[in-house]
Amino acid sequence: MRRRALLAAGFAASAAPAAGAAVPCFEPRGTGDLMVIVERARGALVVAESTHCTVVGRIEGLGDLSHASMVFSRDGRFAFVFGRDGGLSKVDLLEQRIVARIVQAGNAIGGAISNDGRIIAVANYDPGGVRLFDANSLSPLFEVPAIGADGTRSKVVGLVDTADGGFAFSLYEAGEIWLLERPDGTRAQLTKFAGVGSLPYDGNVTPDGRFYLAGLFGEDGLVLVDLWHPEAGPRRILDGYGRGQVPLPVYKMPHLEGWAAAGANLFLPAVGRHEVLVVDRKHWQEVARIPLLGQPVFVVVRPDGREAWVSFAPPHNGTVQVLDLEHLTVAETLAPGRAILHLEFAPRGDQLWLSARDDDRVLVIEPRSRRLLAALPADKPSGIFSTARAHRIGS
């Protein structure tokens, strides 16, 4: 019993940078309850666990983590962290140390891991394109420069893994969607769809991996590619959802989260309109729109699909709204903290983790009662990533 306690203390203490510690001093544990929090200004990660809601460690030295995101190895032990400065870091969540790190581009936005866990793909703004790396060593495999049909190089956005082992992504300036199949270097094949619409700003796949969906900034609408039938080409949906009205200013670009699907519907943040658009996933028609108090940024569905939580762009980022997905209404408006942006559910929906950037803490809320379960200290927290993402397509 005593030994156990000591080992547990050792695990917590390994939060400090491991000074050449050869022998990991942690109790054997899984990673399934870990939440990894980005401290963007500090260039660090906080590793927390959702069983007792405690911080188990911090990993420093990850560079510029503005808009950072991460994916996980299939065993849930390693996080691959994508920094704004082109940094790609492989982090051991158990030993809480960086095991490999490269700076692979000048400016990057995110990345994905192939469904076999072997390839990391990074979406780069500068130089615009996708670079692929061996997930074990981070050694480079090859590059796909994002040169559109008009010959100009584009920033790459909305890079996700697809169910066939490849990747899908969008070219921001060129307005194209590309599919990269068999990304093993020798048999790789690119399928390009040009002229899909103006300024695709993000993209994601539906949770089943079948449909790739890109949101457009320059037009009211989204673009859909059926990955079962890419030969059918891209299809516009929700065309003209703004109904010709002048868009409202957008003080923070929305995100498309793969999780924003429940039952027959998909829930998408409108751009320049204070609404969530509800789309029927069978016919891709608008079912309803739910009026909100501001420009939605994240729309995240509780894993049981009954409610969704929405965060907002400034100046409404002190507020979140809870949507009733059965009746397609706003169930509740809450003000849990200052500068709330990122929302992440525990895998089975018993907790919602929110980053309150300007309060320097992460809030853990019981999503049904909205009761505060815990508040964890974090320095300007932004993204929160559950290791459960290791087992989801498109995350």
Partner: protein
């Protein structure tokens, strides 16, 4: 008061004579408490697109070397009115002209606290 004078002087030195008068005026017009709010907005809200360290993202870099060639008053106008056809929104609902001028001066000097 002394701190404010010193800040104004350092901006004067860094941005050169062209911007000096405008920067000094901008510094004087913005109270110290409001300056902290503005720096927070610059770092985190502008930084959402332009990068926390202003090295660029979906929006272009806002580093002294990328802004040096540009007319500071045109930059102030961009901040207040936005850039139609791009994701750059108008910030005039949150910023006065003096405040926008203060932020532009900080960026051009590379001196965002």
């Amino acid at each position: 008061m002394r701190e404010r004078a010193r800040a104004a002087v350092s901006v004067l030195v860094l941005v050169g004579l062209g911007d000096a008068r405008a920067s000094a005026v901008a510094q004087e017009a913005v109270t110290s408490a409001r300056r902290a709010e503005l720096v927070q907005l610059l770092r985190h809200d502008c930084g959402a697109c332009h990068g926390l360290w202003f090295k660029g993202g979906l929006g272009p870099p806002l580093l002294p070397e990328t802004l040096a060639e540009k007319d500071p008053e045109a930059l102030v106008l961009t901040v207040l009115e936005g850039r139609p056809g791009t994701p750059m929104p108008p910030w005039k609902a949150f910023l006065s002209e003096e405040e926008a001028r203060f932020l532009v001066a900080l960026l051009r000097a590379g001196r965002v606290p």
